[in-house]
Structure formats: C-alpha cells, structure tokens
Symmetry: C2
Subunit: 665 residues, 2 copies
C-alpha cells in the first residue's frame, strides 16, 4: 500500500532534514545525547512515515495503529523529532529544547509512558527488536480473533548494529522466522559504526544471510535513496515472511566533517560542525525552527492516519465483535475471576491436596484460563516442568495464530521481551515459564517489564535447592533476592495451593506491576485448611499459625519453608513454647501494608526467618539479634531431602535456633 | 592428525556402547538424569576421543591438553562415563553408581573442580559453547606468546539444540567467526528434539547456513557413521576457520522403543527399556560392568595422551620460555604488584586528583598492566567509557593473537562467558568492561564465574544515577544489590582513586573469587589523602573519618556517596556533632572481618547508610531504627546533580536525617 500522499523528492528531503536539524540542535542544547543515528536514519524514517505508517496523533491509543519501534534507543531524538513534527500534543518544541532534562518527556532514551507515540522503552540493545516480534505476534493473534476489519496493522522496527550483535537478537530472529511473522519489518541501520569504531573491529557476520537462514525475507538498499527504501518496504509488505531491509546509511549524515564516524554517535556535534551541517544540508533555519511547509508535509501524515482511524472506527461501530474487542483491550474481569477463585479456594481448603506449587499453579490456571478469554501462556521449552499449559489450550503455530499457548523455545530472554511486546500491543495477558534460576537469562527484559509497568507474569518453577539432583547450576539461591531488589516487581513465593491461587489472582489483575511467581518443584501440603474470602497473599504476609497465648517466638517463612516452620512450631508447642508462624509470600506486598498491620503480624517476640535462599532483602523483617535460616553458598547435586538436611534447613534446626534465641538451652 | 590408534569398527562400537550402558545404568540408579544425549552422542564422542583428543588422565592439568566441553551439560553422564573409561583416578565406578548423590563427584551437571577432566561447569545452555570460544581464543593467544612447541591444542565442544537456540550462542558464533578461531570445533548434536518435543515446534533456522554467515567452516554428517565423523573432524582441523559439524543423531540411540523421542531426554529409561536396549545393542554385561577389552581400548587413548604429554614435557624442559610459561599459568606476582601499587598510592595521596573512579581504574590499570605480563583487557564496545584500555595495549585481531586487548563487541553475555573460558584455559587474567546496569545481560555467566571460583574481573562503570542523562534504562539502582546477593562474588565500589587502586590489587590477586568493580562516571575527589600501606579496601569497610570524641552518629557510604557523607560530616561537625564516616567499598569483605573489627568500625551510635541504590543487602549494617538513604524506584533522565537532588541523596538530606536520628530537631 504505497500511500497517496503527494511525494516529491524535494519535500521528503526537507522532511528528513527537519529531523536532522532537530536532533543535532536538541543534543547540542542538552550537551549530551546521540545525533548520529537520527541523522543517519532520517531518510529511512521519513519514507517510512510519509508513505506507509498509519498513526493518529489525536488518538495515540488507537488499537489498529501501526507500531513503530526505535530499537536503537539511543537515537531517541529521531522519535521525539518525528512525534513533534506529527503534532502529538504533548511533544511541543519546548520538550525538544529540554531534551534529557529533569521532568521532560524527552528522556535520554525513549521511555514508554512518558509521551504519546512511544510504543516501548528502548536503550538496552536488542530489546526493542524483540518487543517488535511480540507486537507483530500479538497483531496476528488479535487478528485471528477479530478479523481484518478490526486488526490489520504493521510493526516497523529500526535496529542498529548493536541490536543485531546482542544475543537476544538471535532468539528474536529465530522465533519470528519460525512463526512467519510477515507483519514485522525490520529496517537495519547498517552504518558500520559502533562506539568502539568500525564494526570491522568486532564482527564480520553476513547479516542478510543470517536472517535468511532463519526464514526471513531479506533486501539491501541505499539508506539515503528514498525511492529504493520505499520499494523495499513495499516488497517487504508483499512477502509473507518477516522482512529485513538492510539500509546502508551514513551515521551523522549531513555533518560534513564528522559523518560516517563514531564521533557522531554519542556526543554533540559542536557549534561549528552544526553550522557546517546547516550549510551542507541547505537548512537555513534557526535552531529548533521548522518552516511551516515542512510541518504541513508531516501533518499530512497525521491527517492520513486520522482518516484511517475514522474508517476503522466506522467498521468498529458496525462490528458484532466490538464489545469483545473492547474487553480484550481492557483489564481482565476481576469480579468473575474473584468469584471463580473463591469457589476454588473453598474446594482446596476441603480437599487439602499435597502438590508442588508448580502443579497448584497449573490447577488454578485451569480456572484463570477458563474464566478469562485473553490469557496467553507459554514456556521456554519447559512446558511439562513449568506446568504452564492447561487442558484447553492450543498451540500458536506458524500461520495459525488462533491458539493461546506459545512455544518460545529455549529462549528465556526473548520470551520475556516478546511478552513485553504482547503486553504493550494490548489484547492479551501474557504469562511464560522457565526455571527460576534462568530468570537470570531474562533479567534485562524483566527489568523492562518493571520499568514500563507492564503486568507480565513470570512463572518461575524449581525455586530452590528443593529441585534436587540437577545441582547448583539449576538451584536458585540468590535469584529471589535479586528479583526482590528490582523496583516495581512483585515477587510471590506461595506456600501451598491456596496461596498459589491467590498469587495468580494478584498477578492477573495487576495493572502496573509485573509478577514473578516462584514455585516449588517438590510436593507441599495444603496449609490453609480454613477458608478465607480475603486474598491473604495480597497482604504480603499473615499469620498462618496464630499464637494462642502470648507468643515467645515468631517464625517467618516463604514457600516450601512455611511447612517446615509449621512443623517446628508443633515441636515447640510440645515443649510449651508459644510460637507464631507467619507466611510471607511477598515481602514487597507486605512492606506496602499499614504499619499497624505489619506490627500485629510480626509481633515483638524474637524472630526467625526461614527461606532456602540468601538473607539479602530480609532487612525489613529481621532486627538485630533475630535469626535467618537459609543459604549462604551455592547448592549441590543430591535428592532434595538430603540437601535440606545438608544445608541445615530443617524443622529441627528451626527448633534448636528458637530455643537458643529465647534462652531455653 | 588422524591418530595411529588401531581402529576397528567393532572396537569403536563397543567403546560407544560402554558409554551408553553406563549412562542409562547410572541414570536408572539415580532415578534421575538425562540418558538421551549421552546415548545419542556416544558415537561422536568415541570417535573424537579415540582418534583425536589428547589428554593425560595422570596429569589432568597438563597445559597443552585438548579441551573437551560438554556444552549440553545435562548429558553429564557422557563426561563421567568417558572419564571413568579413560581411567581418571577420581572417577571410579562407585562415583558412577552414586550419580547425582550428595558428595559424589558425579553431580547432575558437570561441575568444574568436582572431578578431573571436567573443563568447565555446564548446564545453563550456551555457556559451554561460549567458554569453548574463550578457551580456543586463549590457546591462540598463549600460542602467540610461547609458540607451537608449548601451545598447540584444540578445543572441542559438544552442543545441543538448546545451546544453539540461546542468544549467547549468537554472540559466541559471531565472535569466533570474526576472530577466525580455527582451533575450535563444535559438534552439534542435531537430534531434532527438545524438552517440549520436536524442534519443529519452535525453530526452523538453517543452522549450517547461520554458522556459515558468521564465517564458519560447516559440515553435516550422520552422527552414527564413525568414518564420516572422523573425516569431518579431520577436515575441520584442516580449515583455518572455526568449524561446525552438524551431527545428525538419534537421541537415546539404542533404546528400541524410546529412541528419537523426548522421552529419553530427561528421565530414566526404566528397567524394561534398559533390558531391551541391552538386547538391541548386544550389550550382554551387567549394570556398571565394562569388559576388560573395552577398558583396554579406552586406556589406549590415555596412553597415547601420556605419550604426547611426555613429548611436550621434553620440549618444555628444553625451552627458553619454560619459566615465563610456568609463570603465566601461576598466580600473578602479588609482591611486585603490591610494591607498584604502594608507590602509586603514595603519589595519589599527594596529588589528590579529582577523577571518576572509571578514570582512576584506567590509571591504576596502567600500573597493573605494566607490572603483570598476562592481564588481558576488553570491553563490550564501551572501551572509551569503561576506560579499560591502557596506553601500551594492542588489540587482539583476526589472525593476530599477540595483542592483549579484546574488542568483545556489543556482547556482554559472551564477554563474560569468554572470560570464563580464558580463565579456565589458564595463562591469562581476563578483565572486561560494560556499564554496570548491563551486568544483567551477562549475569548467567557472572554466576558461573562465581560458582566455578574463577577470578574473572568485571569492570562495571556508570554505577548509579550519577551517569545522568541516559536515564533509567542505563541507571543501575538494584544492580549492586543483585550482585551482592550472589555467593562468592566480591562486589567493590570504591570511593576514590586510592580505593580504586586497592580494589584492583584485590581483584587481580584473588584466587577463587571473581570481582565486580562498580565505578563512577562522574568525577570524585580523592578522600584518602593520608597514605596507608595497608590495603584498607581489603577490610571491606574502614573509618574514613574517625570520630575525635565519642561519636554521636555514624555515616556508612560506598563509592560516590562517601564524598557526600564526608560533606555531611563537616556540616554536622559545624553544629558540634561528632560524626564518624565509614567507607564501605565491599560489604562482603567487611562481613568476613572479625567481629571485633566490625564493631570498632561501626561503633554503637545511630547509623545512616548512604548508597544511590536500593536498601537490599544492607541488613548486616543497619539495625532497627537506623536510616538508609538511597533509591526505592528506578532513576530518571537528567544531569547527575539534578538527579541526586531529585532523589534526595545530598549532604543536606544526610544532615537532616542525622539530626532527626539523634533527636536534635
């Protein structure tokens, strides 16, 4: 669909030079930033927007807009310049003048949520590309449910050399090629420059061949030849495969003395070079000044987008699916879910199954997936171990996007970044599984879930030495602590099937916080045998065993160790010692409770915390003199029970420490 | 070099079946483990060892041995079976019978250091492959220094589908192809099976084309055709490029009802299937029984290796380079380094430069690299930002391995895993740089540095919101806490140039602990103006400003925040409040100090800890009622000073909190 916008070479030159001028001026004003990429990519971006992209700045949330991802996020001024020129009302020239200043929407790297028209947060390389894969996948999945009338858009990604060097790019490319994501078009800023200098210093991969090997449609063009760029994009759209267009560009294009060198990458050009660039480009306007004619050309793009949105709205108004479509984009039906989980919790309290929490997770997922139409599951090749697939799920397959279960392959990092992309696209609530210890492989993308406030759900099983024989490479010891340290990530480690159900309710209904569910491999008894309507996990911690008289010691534990604490409490009770047991599935949620509640739960008696991990992060629970029973080294390979004994995490050890702590020895 | 060992097809069949039988018997005995890969790879491994590999079980540290890496670490029984059959004296049949049991050398995955002949710890997929790249690089670098007489060996890697799906594989392949690491031969266990089922579920990459695109020599063979395997390995050795040999194998080969399916991957075959396999293979021996003739065939390999080692030893004895060679494999000369750094500290205390600690790191690296002959630097494409390259360093280049500086490219994960490989190979002390926040990208490999006890050095610059305008994607907030949570990783965040020098001394002379150096982007004053012969950073924390009378408050800070604490202490002193300032560059090293020292440094007065990061991990310093001044959210994009003010990390804020804490408001 080559667009009907009147295109003349001279017009598009001016449109591109407006990007270049704004980029170099803003970086200069900030005395910080990256002019090279926006200047090098200005032609590509101009053609892409002028002739192809459909967005409506008056409705930046229009679901059927095309998605534009600047994966080389350091080139953020490209995005800000374009969004300013398109007329987004929150991106006036003052924002560009305040590039990289406190409170400005124009952060150093594009930050999702800071301004309209920023589809994802980029900067950590390779993430945007992989988010784009998730968006393109979500588009096809949404399309499979609602048809071409309502869902029919494209995902365009601009990626740099760094994006393609990062490992995650392999996972993204491999996955996209396999799935046949034909709605994804990646324009590679092939400028042969990285920070350290020429790409020849560090890579000699033939990128087009690499992409072709993964099943992509591949083209190469001169990234400053607008007709060639347009023809390539057009051809890419005609091909059923995902497309790579290698755009040979000159970094810092237009800066006569610096273009084509690393000097333009990450520093202001300087006043002299900026003046020389103005001369070279024939750009006679003052800093931050854009002539009306050029603005008009950019506004035509916005007008075209508004027209497309109006047509879409008309189709939407006439659609039988309108209500379901709207619901798919809204928050999950918390009321229906709450009722279903409430009933299920009743049953659990009666039945009292002894199951691993990963199995309990599968059990409650049957309820969740049965109640909510738009959960999308998956696993990084550990489906049977993560228990992420429920009975009525169907696999998403190449060319068949009606399913709701994604085989991410052995690609933890891409799984997380693809889930971010799906969540950003809208229409689905994604969850995906791997072993907890391999959260490390996905960590940069988990961080972006948290930073972008996307409620993605991580199902992290085999959550301690309790996984046994696979040994220390597979045993998380520090992983829970490292996840708890991350801002805006809810880490939940349920103790039994009831807590697992409550944890899922929290995760699925979360609006702005991703969740990491830490689940056991080994079977655990149901401890919550008395039904509570309240979601107690939402409190973060609560009394699992209330003291009947004045408590002498409080045991605080999470996950599989709560059962140990309960055993220990029994033994202590036999010795006449009043012991409270606090189950603390989420230290973050507990920290957010009122002080009074926290004090009531924890009491003032000496405390022992028990968790089969490191002590870091327990500082808000433990006071001077309190005791932590956990791990201070990596694990070992042996059956789980042997390991718990070996590392001294047993009910007997708890009893011994408790007696010592209260001076009974 | 096709070896002269007498080879008959029947002999090698028996040798391979011995591996298969031991693998299935051991997994059955453990009732846990992965028989599929060892059984599928038995032919490949037998040919590789019987006809090519040179190792001497009597001297497992022989520097010129070939390196064998089982990257698909779940197939650990392949390694244990081979090492048992080769006659390593610590791998008797009892070890195999105790597979995966507490205290056995035969852990679930191969653990470096647990037994001889295990070259690296594998299990987390893709790591072994990348370690192999590091080993093959180290071999050429060592060869460039000491010649063919002393260094002339091969690195062989067995990699599975999972290894090739992981993102790190791209970084490894790209780097190895670029560098032209012809001594690296990767045998891909192309069995078309992953845990979730057929690889067709999740990938359709043409792997040979992918490797060829990265500059590799590529072949495909039937992985059960021993002559074809041998011919391919021979051809691979003749080619100057790194080689991929795609070995089409049948997972669980020999198990008549299960072979070729995911059922053989990660579970015991079961008694019935094991009996059927014995029948199918014609293996008539009891569990764990290996006939003498088969043992003799394997022992011939060991004999050949012993002969090769004897020849090497003769060359070594006659070599002019013998002493330098030995030194390169030993620990760095701590005495010479100590003297050089001592002199340098004197000078620093006099000069008192105001420099960023990343710059201070470069300054002391001039001393380190000038004193020690075998440090090898590098950066993941941030050389000028990480300040990792000193004046006399030369780049390691394709075909020219005499240099000592490695351009790792935008590949943080591979950098870490390659450094692990270099360290494991021996001969060099590797350090490599990236931004601290991108330690997340490398985290799975950093974890393996720690688990394997390899003293790799991570140079992590731009260590807080102090990096300023690049914004929250680039600002570590939780990263230091997440690294501190990792067992056996020394995290050091120096406050000035003197502490940076001491930190480097600790890092370079560390024997069993990797180090993460967290360094500032922004300039910091030299606070240590009085020379101390003692390495105070080695204490973890010490009094930077001692109280002159009885202290009323203690400020504990790290890195760039120590200067803020010193400023605050001055202001408090002006109000007559006796304030101690503790610089705490390493909480782990401090935790290892005697209780008495810790008590003396910290005192009993109220404490305020200041660090521009999250509070997690400060629990060993802070007591109930003490105060933490730091970050509890992600950062923002703005000049550094604005951010410190915005987030309330200022000397004034410290003063205010101190006054409140001691009841002076």
């Amino acid at each position: 669909m080559n667009i009907e916008t009147p295109v003349t070479a001279a017009t598009e030159d001016l449109m591109a030079n407006a990007i270049r001028a704004l980029a170099m001026d803003a970086v200069q004003a900030a005395n910080s930033g990256h002019p090279g990429a926006p200047m090098g990519l200005a032609d590509v971006a101009t053609v892409l927007f002028n002739r192809f992209i459909r967005v409506d700045p008056a409705d930046h949330r229009w679901p059927d807009r095309d998605r534009f991802v600047m994966s080389a996020g350091h080139g953020s001024m490209l995005v800000y310049a374009i969004n300013h020129l398109l007329g987004y009302d929150d991106m006036d020239i003052q924002q560009l003048k305040r590039f990289r200043q406190l409170g400005a929407r124009t952060a150093g790297h594009p930050e999702y949520g800071h301004a309209k028209g920023i589809e994802t947060t980029t900067g950590p390389l390779g993430q945007g590309l992989t988010n784009g894969v998730g968006m393109a996948l979500a588009e096809r999945m949404h399309n499979a449910r609602f048809g071409d009338d309502l869902v029919d858009h494209w995902t365009y990604v601009l990626a740099g050399d760094g994006c393609l060097m990062e490992g995650i790019s392999h996972e993204a490319i491999d996955f996209a090629g396999h799935m046949g994501l034909g709605r994804l078009i990646v324009l590679w800023d092939d400028n042969s420059i990285t920070i350290d200098g020429s790409t020849e210093i560090s890579t000699s991969t033939d990128q087009p061949t690499r992409f072709a090997a993964a099943g992509w449609h591949v083209q190469s063009v001169d990234g400053h030849d607008k007709e060639a760029i347009a023809a390539a994009i057009e051809a890419a759209r005609q091909d059923a495969r995902p497309s790579l267009i290698a755009c040979k560009t000159i970094i810092g294009f237009g800066a006569p003395n610096k273009q084509g060198t690393a000097a333009t990458h990450g520093a202001p050009l300087g006043e002299d070079e900026i003046a020389a660039t103005r001369d070279a480009l024939g750009w006679t306007f003052a800093p931050f000044q854009v002539p009306e004619a050029v603005r008009a050309s950019w506004c035509a793009i916005a007008r075209r987008g508004a027209g497309a949105r109006a047509e879409w709205q008309a189709r939407m108004n006439g659609s039988d699916h309108a209500e379901a479509f709207r619901q798919s984009l809204g928050r999950p039906d918390a009321k229906a879910l709450g009722a279903a989980i409430g009933n299920y919790k009743h049953k659990l309290a009666m039945d009292g199954p002894k199951v691993a929490t990963r199995k309990a997770s599968e059990m409650v997922l049957e309820i969740v997936n049965g109640t909510l139409p738009n959960t999308v599951g998956g696993s990084a090749d550990l489906t049977g171990s993560n228990n992420t697939r429920t009975s009525r799920m169907a696999s998403v397959k190449p060319g068949d996007f009606a399913g709701d279960y994604i085989h991410y392959g052995v690609r933890e990092h891409a799984m997380a970044a693809i889930m971010n992309g799906i969540s950003l696209h809208g229409g689905f609530v994604p969850y995906g599984g791997t072993f907890l210890v391999f959260a490390d492989y996905a960590r940069p993308a988990i961080r972006l879930s948290a930073l972008m406030e996307r409620p993605v759900i991580y199902v992290l099983t085999h959550d301690s030495i309790g996984l046994g024989e696979d040994g220390p490479t597979h045993q998380p010891v520090e992983t829970i602590a490292s996840l708890r340290a991350m801002p805006n990530l809810a880490v939940i480690r349920p103790a039994d099937a009831v807590e697992t159900a409550e944890a899922w309710e929290i995760a699925v209904t979360s609006e702005r916080t991703p969740t990491a569910l830490c689940l056991s491999r080994q079977g655990l008894p149901t401890l919550r045998r008395i039904h509570s309507d309240e979601n107690l996990v939402a409190r973060g911690a609560y009394l699992m065993r209330a003291p009947d008289t004045e408590r002498e010691v409080t045991l605080v534990a999470t996950g599989s160790e709560v059962a140990l604490a309960m055993e220990a409490a029994e033994k202590l009770a036999e010795q006449g010692i009043c012991t409270a047991v606090v189950s603390a599935p989420s230290l973050e949620l507990f920290a957010a409770q009122p002080t009074e509640y926290r004090a009531r739960v924890l009491g003032s008696a000496p405390r022992i915390a028990i968790e089969a991990g490191v002590w870091h992060g327990w500082g808000q629970i433990l006071r001077h003199g309190d005791v932590f029973i956990g791990m201070d080294s990596f694990g070992a390979s042996a059956p789980a029970e042997d390991l718990y004994r070996h590392f001294g995490i047993t009910s007997d050890a708890i009893v011994t420490d408790a007696l010592k702590l209260i001076g009974r020895t």
